[in-house]
């Protein structure tokens, strides 16, 4: 199928700090592939540092957060599309995928294409539903309790020995080595993300993640497995290396088919030391923040996602190169206060004149 010209691609998730959102890495991959005429950023906060990445984004708009009614987001996108027609929108935050899944057809009517899973698929992989999904798909999952009040915490802690992992209902995780730590982390997670908090058996081993992309008929177009090397105190990868692990890729393929998944995803595993068993512990309905590693290893999954969204046939990727490493570094940006003021005051800023 002939390639369609992609005029403008919008990317969300522009937080670029210590726990970066994937938007900056996705835009970088798209720039490398020269897949779109313009790349614009959509942000919820004028202080997300990715909004200053003038080398990646031609313009940035503020849009309503996913916690606001979907109608508000739709209205804002319609307003933006009236002046800057958007061909493809790549959402990169977990919290917004369900909203975009709901708006998919209405956005298509505005000429904005997305490659997202069904709302049902998004729900089936959320943290609370994950044990059931793993059981059905025949994938190992660490023993997990859903804790709805701190007074129940000690009861569950008695079910096993320390350490335990406490996870927020949306994000964040802490390893607790004592009851005191468990209670302190429970309070922090409940304050930040609300209840419930998940209490999960700690599995000792290597953390391995897979970034994948599924076509509209739920076939895996590409997938890259990475083993985390340097891990920040918050458990995020500061560096990692691509690994060849057919078993991991096979598990992801099984999950994609079981969920009838469409679009990007990240599946996180721990390979247990001693047994070598892969425990699945999270599925994110988006590209990971380290997606540029996949591009560097030979699979530019964001570029392929844009092609699929445009309705093109995309052949399955050739195997990627193992042994490619990513190291989280930082880039500095300088701009006039006028750019920031414009974004904060009128909700948009344009770095390049023709944007």
């Amino acid at each position: 199928m002939a390639r369609t010209r992609v005029g403008c691609i919008a990317v969300t998730g522009l937080e670029g700090m210590d726990n970066p959102s994937p938007g900056v890495a996705v835009a970088r991959s798209l720039r490398d592939a020269a897949v779109g005429g313009q790349i614009v950023g959509l942000t919820y906060n004028a202080l997300n540092t990715g909004v200053f990445a003038e080398d990646l984004f031609d313009a940035v708009w503020i849009v309503p957060a996913p916690s606001e009614p979907a109608e508000a987001l739709y209205g804002r996108l319609r307003e933006i599309a009236a002046t800057t027609p958007i061909d493809v929108l790549v959402p990169t935050l977990d919290t917004e995928i369900a909203v975009y899944a709901r708006l998919r057809r209405r956005l298509e009517a505005l000429g904005i294409r997305t490659l997202v899973p069904s709302e049902e698929g998004v729900k089936k992989r959320n943290k609370i539903a994950l044990p059931l999904l793993c059981r059905q798909a025949g994938v190992d999952y660490p023993e997990t309790f859903v804790v709805t009040a701190s007074k129940h915490l000690d009861h569950y802690l008695g079910e096993g020995s320390f350490p335990w992992v406490l996870k927020g209902s949306v994000a964040d995780a802490h390893v607790a080595h004592s009851g005191e730590e468990a209670h302190a982390f429970f309070a922090r997670l409940a304050d930040t993300w609300g209840l419930p908090v998940l209490l999960q058996r700690f599995v000792e081993g290597d953390e391995c993640d897979v970034a994948g992309l599924a076509s509209p008929d739920s076939e895996l177009v590409g997938a890259v497995a990475m083993r985390k090397m340097a891990i920040t105190p918050k458990g995020k990868a500061a560096s990692g290396v691509t690994i060849q692990d057919d078993e991991l890729i096979g598990l992801v393929e099984r999950i994609v088919r079981h969920l009838r998944w469409v679009g990007p995803l990240e599946v996180e595993f721990i390979k247990e030391r001693g047994t070598g068993r892969h425990y699945l512990f999270e599925i994110n309905a988006r590209f990971p923040a380290w997606i540029y590693l996949a591009t560097g290893a030979g699979q530019n999954l964001p570029a392929a996602a844009v092609r699929l969204a445009m309705g093109e046939q995309v052949a399955k990727y050739e195997p990627y190169r193992p042994g490619v490493l990513f190291a989280r570094n930082m880039r500095e940006h300088l701009c006039s206060i006028a750019h920031f003021g414009q974004l904060a005051a009128i909700g948009e800023t344009h770095f390049h004149v023709n944007a």
């Binding site: 890495a25 922090r188 105190p233 560096s239 042994g323 990513f326 989280r328 570094n329 500095e332």
Partner: protein
């Protein structure tokens, strides 16, 4: 020249930014040696800044071995100036200044007693220095000490780790767990400090024996979850510069320094909330605003005197500086080379293959 502080994970150290300022200081720029303490420090892959990278044991494990290996690396690479970018490095080099000078290597940093004077600003009682109020502080070295020390303060309470991570805690249990983690990860001291509500400002400055040579003030726009600074805007604020002058004069400071201030919301009173004996992470903003602090420090070091004509606290206000995390693509062979030999020579960046649009 050698530069330390190459870790750029979730709490970026200033080494890369300092290296970029030196690169921008003149045609060609100086040859730069990056010093890393860990194979996993991500800045070692940043080939555009450092010609070579050497790995030496960190100063907090064994001070004598650190100095010996650091000076060995300087000899091997022909280094004449070291710019230490971590608080711990500055302290060790201040203690071993004579030995470092004997090895023919120069630094532009404080003597030991001046560093102790800077730390001495923090007391168990609130006090005032000119127009600056310095809040009550206490220090813990072990997790079991935290509850007793914290009992003397009201919540919320500010905890500051040895590497500058910040957390606000709201209860004794929280203080013990979060503070305990900081001590476990980074060692002591853990600073406990009163919280002050207000606007967040910082000043990056350079001084010589208490005389302010250069200073740039910024308003902090955004901080990471660990308290690290990710975006600032330069501000014209004569009060902040005046406060900086008073503080550095009081401790008779020599070298770079980062001072953190809060302007209290209701009273507009200026509080000193942090003082680090090094360049700020946003030193690139200072350079763009007209004050290349690392280049000025190198000039002062090499000439052995300070060029008074260059003395200036004028800079461009309204310049926004922000950092974004970017993944550097490298090869596992790079780590093998650094791990096996302790040395990494500059090479061409790895080609990114298999791009497809």
């Amino acid at each position: 020249m050698a530069v330390t502080g190459l870790n750029v994970g979730d709490n970026p150290q200033p080494g890369l930014s300092v290296g970029r300022c030196l690169r921008a200081s003149g045609p060609g720029g100086p040859a730069l040696l990056g010093i890393t303490y860990d194979l996993q420090w991500t800045g070692v892959h940043h080939r555009e800044v450092f010609e070579t990278v050497h790995m030496v044991p960190p100063p907090w494990l064994d001070e004598e071995t650190f100095v010996e290996r650091l000076l060995g690396s300087c000899r091997e690479a022909g280094v004449r100036v070291i710019l230490p970018c971590l608080d711990a490095d500055v302290a060790v080099l201040a203690r071993h200044q004579a030995e470092v000078h004997r090895a023919g290597v120069r630094t532009f940093g404080p003597r030991r007693e001046r560093l102790e004077a800077l730390w001495g600003l923090w007391c168990p009682v609130q006090w005032e220095l000119g127009a600056v109020t310095i809040p009550r502080s206490a220090v813990a070295y072990a997790a079991y000490e935290i509850p007793e020390i914290a009992a003397a303060f009201a919540y919320p309470l500010l905890l500051r780790s040895a590497v500058g991570e910040i957390a606000t805690v709201s209860a004794a249990g929280d203080a013990r767990v979060v503070g305990g983690r900081f001590l476990q990860w980074w060692g002591g001291p853990l600073v406990l400090r009163e919280c002050v509500e207000g606007e967040d400002y910082q000043v990056g400055a350079l001084a010589h024996e208490g005389t302010l040579l250069a200073a740039v003030g910024v308003r902090v726009l955004t901080r990471g979850s660990n308290g690290s600074t990710w975006a600032v805007v330069t501000v014209a604020d004569a009060d902040l510069v005046a406060c900086t002058r008073v503080i550095l004069g009081h401790v008779r400071w020599t070298g770079p320094v980062l001072l953190e201030f809060v302007k209290e919301t209701w009273s507009r009173r200026v509080w000193l909330m942090g003082a680090s004996p090094r360049f700020p992470i946003w030193v690139g903003a200072a350079r763009a605003a007209g004050q290349n602090l690392p280049a000025m420090a190198v000039e002062a070091t090499l000439k052995g005197r300070v060029n008074r004509a260059r003395q200036s606290t004028a800079y461009e206000a309204g310049l926004v500086w922000a950092m974004t995390s970017r993944d550097e693509i490298s090869d596992v062979a790079v780590l093998a080379e650094l791990g096996n030999t302790g040395r990494l020579a500059r090479g061409e960046p790895l080609a990114v293959e298999g791009r497809r649009g």
